[in-house]
């Protein structure tokens, strides 16, 4: 062992400096124990980012263990750049979701763009070709100019990056609530496909193998971005405007093609993208996973600015960079491919067997840290959790204080025009959702469907999450999100096979926030277990808080389902006049936390719907059976806005001309607004050709799923008759389908462009 070239630790680091790096006294003590000496400044910086909440999951890790992560299809569970599930035909679907909330608030366009870039790299570092993106967004209400500006910036950033790189953005979701005005959420999901036995991992095996750096040159971008994402905002941070990263989708497209060529030619031991904490996290994570060490020379790293210190090179978050370990003797082939695509590449180090991350600057060693101390042995906290004092008052709502609905047609129109329910075409038509020519169900149905060329199969994909539910009851809210995602897939004809999550919460050092987190994780875990859907990857974003005000707890699920045959692909809209309309599932007085209460009564309160997972599963089995028999024309899950909105959507969301419906709502024992606008889970509206009606009815009854006949599809107007218990006469209304369609279609554009 050479002791002559240890990193120098000349001056002792001041307490202030340690705290500036976001490290607590105990954490600093742990660093001393790991090193057996004081760290120097570079090492302190490295520990600081790797032990940040963003990279270490120190507050969440112990809770994430509750997720079911195994199953017969799971090829890769959590722990790698992305998860993977077997989809047959020798293929695996690789997917993950990630947040870019903080950067998108500071610089919406670049923040969102680099978010897309980051998640794409997570997928293609697994050797998979990305085939679909989805984005899940949360913003403040659009009557504030600032929120409109943020939304416009974020959407154009996603559009800029995704369109340019040529991966279709096939879906997503967006809802509005002022709680997100100062903490908008930008979560991006990506799905890729790889031959199952060619899955690549972030490994650094084989002493002496060379470590290569490829991609963009390193600049001083986003130094300490990871620590920023682990910090709350206050008004001052809007002014601070820290080092923003700029995305280069063109370069990333070249990187993507180059990486797939490496795979084709079998040149690599392992590969990892340089995301948060850049060179540092990629190298120590690769070494730690493999039980090896890595030695890097920062002097060899391609740079675009002069005078960069090792500290800056190690912590830079410049985008579009990857670290890879080449198979012995294959480095020249790697370099040649990089040359062909015009990408910078350099050998920057080698794999060692001493378990250390050793950083050199030429001949001088500037840092030397056990890789596992950084990547795996960071702090873990079981932080105190307790429900907030206001939880009870959130849940208590006396519905008798609110008048029941008198004019359901007016409420329907108000809901269809409300931004959370209105058409999101203003957003997705800025995205290229067709490139790749696999998108067989474009944005606008319950789930997007992409076909897999060369097979009979397709994948359905959706993202879902209802933060108001999670605020009112985080455990049930988490379960409901899983159920809704799965229901969306099932309505599209798919069997759910895997899920990724992005958990957006406030400050985990607050017991009430931690309680929300723990409850939501439990709720998600329970539902995934009951529905047999493994969690294969995910991401946690804490500190979504400004001036002490936290966002609603917002777990988002990204779920993937498998469709075996093209005939089973099902969309949500009615197909043909004359078809019968049926409601599957039971309607209860589920108004608590509903969109109706918020839009019409300005309340975000109440007891949220109760989810019975067995009932939910029964519905899924029944729907899939009906779809596979070829018996149904359309299926749409009942969610935000309730039954009446769902029925209207079935009429107006078709890419072709809108249809109408003749609906009769049978007499009911609960409040009328509960019937029409309540959000009971485990329900779906289907349409059936007359010749299949009997078979369908019988199958539904056999399956033990409650069934209600609602009427027939018609060619134009939306006619509703609501029967009342005698002697009250029925409520009737009739609205032209085209009128409903106009309101629903143009609402967002009206608010955002001021025209149309």
């Amino acid at each position: 062992m050479k002791h002559d070239n240890k990193p120098s630790t000349t001056e002792s680091l001041s307490k202030a400096l340690i705290h500036q790096h976001g490290l607590s006294d105990e954490e600093y003590q742990a660093i001393l124990a790991h090193l057996g000496r004081e760290p120097n400044l570079t090492e302190l910086g490295v520990f600081s980012v790797m032990w940040s909440e963003h990279c270490s999951y120190k507050s969440s890790r112990i809770h994430l263990k509750r997720f079911p992560t195994e199953g017969p299809r799971v090829v890769q569970g959590p722990g790698e750049n992305a998860g993977a599930v077997d989809i047959g035909d020798g293929l695996a679907a690789v997917f993950k979701m990630e947040s870019h909330n903080h950067p998108s608030f500071i610089e919406p366009f670049q923040g969102a763009a680099t978010g897309v870039g980051g998640i794409l790299r997570d997928i293609f570092t697994m050797g998979a070709r990305p085939i679909a993106l989805l984005d899940s967004l949360r913003f403040g209400e659009l009557d504030h100019a600032k929120n409109r500006h943020l939304l416009q910036g974020v959407v154009s950033g996603i559009s800029f990056y995704g369109n340019c790189i040529g991966v279709p953005t096939v879906g997503g979701e967006i809802t509005f609530n002022d709680i997100y005005s100062k903490n908008p959420l930008v979560n991006v999901f990506c799905l890729g496909i790889v031959e199952k036995d060619r899955l690549l991992k972030g490994l650094a095996q084989g002493e002496g193998n060379l470590v290569l750096y490829i991609g963009a040159k390193t600049g001083r971008d986003g130094i300490h971005g990871a620590t920023m994402a682990s910090d709350s905002f206050d008004d001052a941070s809007e002014k601070k405007r820290p080092n923003v990263q700029v995305g280069d989708p063109f370069l990333e497209k070249l990187l993507l093609e180059a990486c797939l060529e490496f795979l084709e030619q079998d040149l690599l031991i392992g590969i990892q993208d340089m995301g948060a904490a850049g060179l540092t996290s990629s190298s120590c994570e690769m070494a730690a996973r493999s039980g090896t060490g890595i030695e890097l020379d920062v002097a060899l790293v391609p740079r675009r600015e002069s005078g960069m210190t090792p500290y800056e090179i190690l912590l830079s978050e410049s985008q579009e960079r990857m670290l890879l370990v080449a198979k012995p003797g294959k480095q020249d082939a790697v370099l040649a491919i990089c040359h062909k695509w015009g990408i910078d590449a350099a050998v920057v180090g080698k794999v060692t067997n001493d378990g250390l991350l050793r950083i050199k600057d030429g001949t001088q060693t500037v840092a030397e840290i056990p890789a596992k101390a950084l990547a795996e042995e960071g702090p873990r906290y079981d932080r105190p959790a307790a429900p907030p004092s206001y939880q009870d008052s959130l849940q208590s709502l006396n519905l008798d204080m609110l008048p029941d609905v008198k004019n359901p047609d007016e409420v329907l129109i108000a809901l269809l025009g409300s931004p959370t329910i209105a058409s999101k075409a203003w957003v997705f038509r800025q995205y290229d959702y067709m490139v790749g020519t696999n998108t067989v169900v474009c944005p606008g149905s319950d789930a997007a469907v992409v076909r897999l060329k060369g097979t009979q199969k397709s994948l359905a994909i959706t993202t879902d999450g209802n933060s108001r539910y999670c605020l009112l009851n985080p455990h049930m809210g988490g379960s409901l999100a899983v159920a809704e995602a799965a229901r969306n897939l099932v309505c599209s004809g798919a069997e759910p096979i895997g899920v990724t999550d992005c958990l957006n919460f406030g400050n985990p050092e607050r017991p009430d926030i931690m309680w929300q987190f723990v409850m939501a994780v439990e709720g998600i875990a329970d539902a995934c277990r009951a529905l047999n859907i493994p969690v294969v990857s995910g991401n946690v974003s804490f500190y979504n808080e400004t001036n002490g005000l936290s966002i609603y707890p917002t777990p988002i699920l990204g779920m993937v389902g498998l469709i075996d045959a093209p005939e089973h692909i099902t969309t949500q809209w009615f197909k043909q006049a004359g078809d019968h309309i049926l409601l599957l599932g039971q309607t209860n007085e589920d108004l608590g936390g509903s969109e109706y209460l918020k839009v019409i009564h300005a309340r975000e309160q109440g007891i949220i719907p109760w989810l019975d997972l067995e009932v939910e599963q029964r519905l899924h089995r029944c729907l899939l059976e009906l779809i596979r028999q070829g018996w149904i024309q359309s299926a749409h899950d009942c969610s935000e806005g309730g039954l009446l909105v769902t029925l209207a959507e079935c009429c107006i969301t078709s890419p072709l001309a809108p249809l109408g419906a003749q609906i009769t709502i049978p007499p009911h024992r609960i409040r009328l607004d509960g019937v029409l606008f309540g959000e009971s889970p485990s329900r779906a509206v289907i349409s059936v050709k007359p010749e299949h009606l009997d078979a369908v009815r019988e199958a539904i009854v056999q399956a033990g799923v409650p069934l209600t006949d609602l009427g027939r599809v018609t060619s134009s107007s939306f006619d509703v008759t609501i029967q009342q218990a005698a002697p009250v006469s029925p409520i009737c209304f009739s609205l032209p389908g085209s009128h409903l369609a106009d309101i629903w279609k143009h609402s967002l554009a009206k608010q955002l462009d001021g025209d149309e």
Binding site: I106, R220, D221, R241, V244, V246, D248, F250, S318
Partner: protein, 85 residues
């Protein structure tokens, strides 16, 4: 008045466009091209004859809309022009 406004990327901010153009110029037979940075050039006509007032407006426009202070710098020149009316 006419304002000529130059919006450029801040020092140290990546300029992917500039990089692509520089590389393409090099392969096109301009090996001497060392660096290219691409910014915006705006010409804004303002119905305002007072230098100071015009200047205040231009500065405010730049800050509010024309330049993105997170990643861009701006500078401007004001020239008098005889606008019709």
């Amino acid at each position: 008045m006419k304002a000529k406004i130059y919006v450029t990327l801040k020092e140290g901010i990546l300029d992917p466009q500039g990089r692509a153009v520089q590389q393409s110029l090099q392969t096109l037979g301009f090996p001497a091209v060392e660096d290219v940075r691409i910014g915006k050039f705006l010409e804004v006509d303002i119905v305002e004859t007072e230098q100071a007032a015009a200047e205040a407006q231009v500065r405010s426009m730049c800050e509010k809309l024309l330049a993105n202070p997170v990643i861009e710098n701006y500078r401007y020149e004001l020239t008098e022009v005889s606008l019709p009316k």
